[in-house]
Structures are given as structure tokens and as C-alpha cells.
Amino acid sequence: MFSGKVFGALAGAAVLALSAGGAVAQPKDKIKVGFIYVGPVGDHGWSYQHDQGRQAIEKAFPGKVTTTFVESVPEADSERAIEQLARTGHDLIFTTSFGFMEPTLKVAKKYPNIKFEHATGFKRAPNLATYAAKFHEGRYIIGQIAGKMTKTDTIGYVGAFPIPEVIAGINAFYLGAQSVNPDVKIKIVFANTWYDPAKEGDAAKALLDQGVDVLAQHTDSPAPIQAAEARGKFGFGQASDMERFAPKAQLTAIVDNWSDYYVARTKAVLDGTWKSEDTWGGLDSKMVVMTPYKNMPDDVKKLAEETEAAIRSGKLNPFKCPIIGQDGKEIECKGNGALSDEQVLGMNFYVKGIEDKIPQ
């Protein structure tokens, strides 16, 4: 169901050696599952979607599983919050931001009988699994829509931080746009925050002022798409369906669907079959879900649906080779006809046609 083994060899040095077998778990009748969120549950984006997943667990195992969350946990100060969950009888703990990686690893070492799962990281241990989603698949689709919908041939992108996950998203978005509109230009602003509606909104307005008429975002609040709505421009929902915030502007939304994964992992702990592994789900495993395509002509809608189907069936990979870097040189193709998973997860270059520089 989920594609695994993303970092296998590469991460070897950084990851604890997987001891043979690990701790063999027994089936359990009742368990507690804890969550650490980087933002408030009310961000209507990243943390909100993780919380939807938490609620799905509660619904799936009535009477057997209780859940807890701690919200707005600063990354540099998260070890205590994670350990507090471990100390208060939680059997399975999800830490849901990249910055929780080292603290989660530290606490996992200290509590070998508790299962930990860290989102978007690359360090694993016998009791610490990792998981992430291939959001760039969705971003390729919205790139195509943006390339078709733009009248100014200028599309915009509000990024959080210039980390590989965001860079890969920008590249996939731009490659999608380029595939249907060779003249398209992209303008990028980094808000340097995952969640700060004021900053995100300002970034969006700055882009709209520069002639951007279709706006994508990789920050968590609805502020950027709301800015697009206010100006009569278009945007895309991020992490959750943001239609209610921007009914006219939202063309579609890339929804993070953690529910199936969280329910499956909780069940594994209940059954005693939980194993530490790496999961990287995309459109095919429904970890990434597109909301209905709206506010666009039928031909664009049809194109988007076809692209979605092609990616889901494996016929289309957003990073199919050749990929040309900004300097005009072809990027070495380390995967099977496309960039390898490692190349995507560590992406640190813009593709040809993007005129910005990655902030260093």
C-alpha cells in the first residue's frame, strides 16, 4: 500500500542500526496514542489535517484507543513535551514536524518499549518509524492548472522555508506549468514560517502586486488564498480543503490525508505487528488527495483529471528525466527513468526557467 525504504542506504550513517527483530510486541486491548503538533490545531492546514487523522483513530477504535495531543510545540523545545507523552502511558506517539527529528530520536532511545513515528524526517530506530507524503505529485497537477489559467503568464508561490520538501514542490509546480505553457514565469517568496497568517498574507499580496494571477502556497494558513480571493485571482488550498475560505479562488486543494495511515499504524500496535519502517505515500495510496477541480474551464479540468490518473497509475512521474537544472545542465538521473527518491527528498536546486535563487 505504501512505498517504503526511501532512505535505506543513504541514511545508514545517521540512523541507529536496526537491531534484529527489535522489541517483539504483544497484542494489546487498550492503548493510548499521542500527537505533537508544530502549529495550533486551528491552523486549517498542516496540524489541522494531522488532528483529523487523530480523530479518525478515535472513531475507528471506540473504547479501545484514547488519543492526546499537544499543540504549538516549538521545535527547539519539544523534547520535554514528547517525553511527557511517553511518561504518561502513551503506547504510540506521532511527532508531526521535521524539526522534531532529533528530540524524537532521543526520547525513542530512552523508551524502547514505546513506538514512535516521525513525519517528514529521515532518522529511524527499532521503535521509531518515519512517514511522509509525495505532495509534489499534487503540485505537478496544480502547476498544469496554473499554467493554463494564468493570463499574465506569471504564477506565484508562497513557500515556508527553502528546505528540500518545499523546493521539490516548487519544481514540480513549475514543471507542471511549463508542460502546458512554455512562456510561464514563476515568482517565489519565502515567508520563513509554517504558520503566521499575517506574514503569509503579506507574502501573497507582494506576489499579487507583481502581476501574479495564480498563486500556490506551501504554508499552512488560508491567508494566501484569501488574499487571492480578495483580489479576484486564483489559488490552491494547502494541506486541507480551503474552499470555505476562498470559494471563488480555490481551483483545487492538495489535501494531506493521514487518517488511513494513522488508523493502520494504530491497528498494528493493537495487533502487535507494528514495525519500524519508512512510508512515502502519494496519490496512489490516497495519502495525497485532490479536492474537486472547480472555477476552471472544462478542458483544464479534464487535463487535471487525466494528469491525476496518470500519476496515480504510475504512468507519469513529475520528475521524469531529463530534468534540467537552472544552469542548463542535465541533472544526473539516479532513479528508474526519473529522479530517485533520495534526489527528490534532498532536492536543493531549481529547475531551468525559474529565475530566482534558492536563499542560502
Partner: protein, 358 residues
């Protein structure tokens, strides 16, 4: 009808001592009422928020860990604030101290450099913080620039420099391009006081800083000079105390201690450089300094109390599923009550009737 505040001439020491206690009780009563309105038990909340963290060895240790940077920074700030100089930029000095110290940690990474690394890192961090603190002090003494603005704005400069380093030159080459440095070698890691504990030597530094400050403020000419500069600047001038050198000195001290807090947190807690190394400690410490009335012992207590509100707040989320907003509201209520209690001790409140005024 309106209120009038008139300063009290004789402030009773008993009242001053009792005021914070009354403030605490009031804050808990208000918060308890809110919790009761939410349909939860205020007694259970009090237990989870205050009693459990204070009765469990693990939480007590975490309390010390959390209070350490707050106390270190706040004690430094008390020098500035006593002299009526407004250093709002401790967060930047903290960051710069962390950068200076980490420079050595990263440049000795992977070598067999020995025991000298850590002490030198600590000294560098003090130097870095002090130098960074001296910028607004220099601008004030030389050009008369308002130190509130410059010190505050330099926070963002320091954060951008840290951000640049974490993404650029100091990025771990094996870290998949994520903005993080390598993890520090053991030689560059501030050790724990006890094995298997997160309490590191930073806590001792904070205690030493508090003790030394108590002696300096109470027993030395420099301490008297600060008080005089703050309370009666003209008198200080007549006494021959140069405002210029006082400004430079207190900013250097305050910056140095904030810088030390920076490396203590990075080396003892986080273990690597990353774009975010502070949980707003430099700003929270301003609250701590005033909650502690700029008094060394007061600051020690205030840093523990503020740390308790964080830890208790997490407990309340985990054990009672009380929202984080309530914790933040409680922190605000507490500060308001303490300030209000202090005001009522120092001032008499009169109800003046309309027309009765001047």
C-alpha cells in the same frame, strides 16, 4: 467617579512580600473560575498544573532545564533595567552568543580536540553576546540613538545571520540539505550534572550569575552606581559616574549573559545549530526580570514560576485536554495580577468623585 493613584510614602515590607502571593492566589482563582465555566474541575487543573510538576522528580528537573536560559538572560537584563537602560534585544545577543560558541564546536567537529573546546566555547559565547550588546550601547552613547529600537532590530539581524549559517556554510553535508548543522561532538557538548538527566551545567552557571549579581548589587560601588544612575541620573552625574561607561558596561554584561545562555541551550540541549534555537527566551526573560522585580532572588523564583507555567500548561493539555490558549491566557492573567498587586502596594487608590478634582 474616577480612580486616582497616589504614591504611598511608607511602603510596608510585609505588604511587598505578601503581594506576589496574593497575586498568585488571585490568578489561580480567576483561572479556576474560567476552568469551572468550561465544565472542568478547577481542583484537578490546579493539581495537574502546579502540584504534579512540583512533586515529581522528572518534572522538577525539566523545570530547572526550562528556567536556566530564562534566569541567565533575566539576571543580565536586570543590570540594564536597574540603570533605566532598555535592552530589548537579549534574544539577538542570545543568538549571537550561540553563533560564536558554535563556530568553535563546528570547526573542531570530527577532530580529537579535547577538554579545552567547551570552556573556550563558553568564553566565545560571552564575548559574542557582549559585543553584540555593545552595538546599541555604542550607538546610544556616541550618537544618542534610542537603544530600545536598535537592540530590538538587531534581534532580527542576528536571527537572519543564524538562518544563513544553518542553511549555508554550516549545513550538515550529510543532512539531505536540511538546514541543520552536524550534531556537536561530546567535547563540545555541555554535560549533564547527573547521568540520565537533562539538567546540565547551565543551571550552575545561572545560580552563580545570580549569586554574583546579588553581591555586586548589594555590596559594591558598581551596584550603587547602577541604582543611582537609574533612580537619579543627575545625582549620578554629580557623583562623577559617567553615564557613558555605565551604559557600555551594563549592555556588555547583559549581552554576555544572554550569549552564555545561547550556547548553553545549543550545546546542552539542542546539540546542533538550526534556524530556530530559542523559544523566545530573550523576550520571555524581560517578563521574568520584572516579575522578579529586578532582584536576583526574585528573578530566580520568577524564572522557575514562568517555567512552571509552560510545563504545567503541557501537562494540562496532555492529562486534562485543556487547550493551549488557556495556558497562554493564564500566563497573561498571572503577570497582570503580579503587576497590579505591586501597583497597589506602591500606590494608594482613591475614588475621586466628579467635580472634586482639580
Amino acid at each position: 467617579m474616577r480612580f486616582e493613584l497616589t504614591p504611598r510614602t511608607n511602603i510596608s515590607p510585609v505588604m511587598r512580600a505578601v503581594a506576589p502571593v496574593v497575586a498568585f492566589i488571585t490568578a489561580f482563582l480567576i483561572a479556576g473560575f474560567v476552568i469551572w465555566l468550561m465544565g472542568r474541575s478547577p481542583i484537578a487543573a490546579f493539581d495537574v498544573y502546579v502540584l504534579q510538576p512540583l512533586s515529581d522528580p522528572w518534572s522538577l528537573q525539566e523545570l530547572v532545564v526550562k528556567a536556566t536560559p530564562l534566569a541567565l538572560i533575566a539576571i543580565g537584563l536586570s543590570y540594564c533595567f536597574r540603570a533605566n537602560l532598555w535592552n530589548i534585544g537579549a534574544e539577538g545577543q542570545y543568538t549571537m552568543g550561540a553563533i560564536f560558541g558554535s563556530w568553535l564546536a563546528l570547526n573542531t567537529h570530527g577532530t580529537d580536540a579535547g577538554l579545552w573546546v567547551l570552556p573556550l566555547m563558553l568564553l566565545l559565547s560571552i564575548l559574542g553576546g557582549a559585543l553584540y550588546g555593545l552595538i546599541p550601547a555604542f550607538l546610544k552613547t556616541r550618537f544618542g540613538v534610542n537603544e530600545i529600537l536598535t537592540s530590538l532590530m538587531l534581534v532580527y539581524v542576528a536571527q537572519q545571520i543564524l538562518d544563513y549559517l544553518a542553511r549555508g556554510p554550516w549545513r550538515d553535508p550529510k543532512g539531505f540539505n536540511f538546514p541543520q548543522s552536524v550534531t556537536f561532538d561530546p567535547a563540545a557538548t555541555l554535560p549533564s550534572i547527573l547521568e540520565e538527566s537533562r539538567v546540565h551545567y547551565g543551571a550552575i552557571f545561572a545560580l552563580v550569575a545570580i549569586l554574583v549579581t546579588a553581591v555586586i548589587l548589594g555590596r559594591t560601588l558598581f551596584g550603587y552606581r547602577l541604582k543611582l544612575t537609574g533612580d537619579a541620573p543627575r545625582a549620578a552625574q554629580f557623583a562623577g559616574f559617567s553615564a557613558r561607561s555605565t551604559t557600555l558596561a551594563v549592555f556588555a554584561i547583559s549581552g554576555g549573559l544572554a550569549g552564555l545562555a545561547g550556547i548553553v541551550e545549543v550545546s546542552g540541549q539542542i546539540g546542533q545549530i538550526q534556524p530556530s534555537i530559542s523559544n523566545n527566551y530573550g523576550f520571555t526573560a524581560i517578563t521574568v526580570a520584572f516579575l522578579g522585580r529586578l532582584n536576583p532572588v526574585g528573578i530566580l523564583i520568577a524564572s522557575l514560576v514562568v517555567a512552571l507555567t509552560f510545563i504545567g500548561g503541557e501537562n494540562a493539555q496532555i492529562l486534562l485536554k485543556l487547550p493551549l490558549d488557556l495556558t497562554q491566557a493564564f500566563q497573561g492573567i498571572l503577570l497582570m495580577c503580579v503587576l497590579a498587586a505591586d501597583a497597589m502596594v506602591s500606590y494608594r487608590i482613591r475614588f475621586a468623585t466628579r467635580g472634586g478634582g482639580k
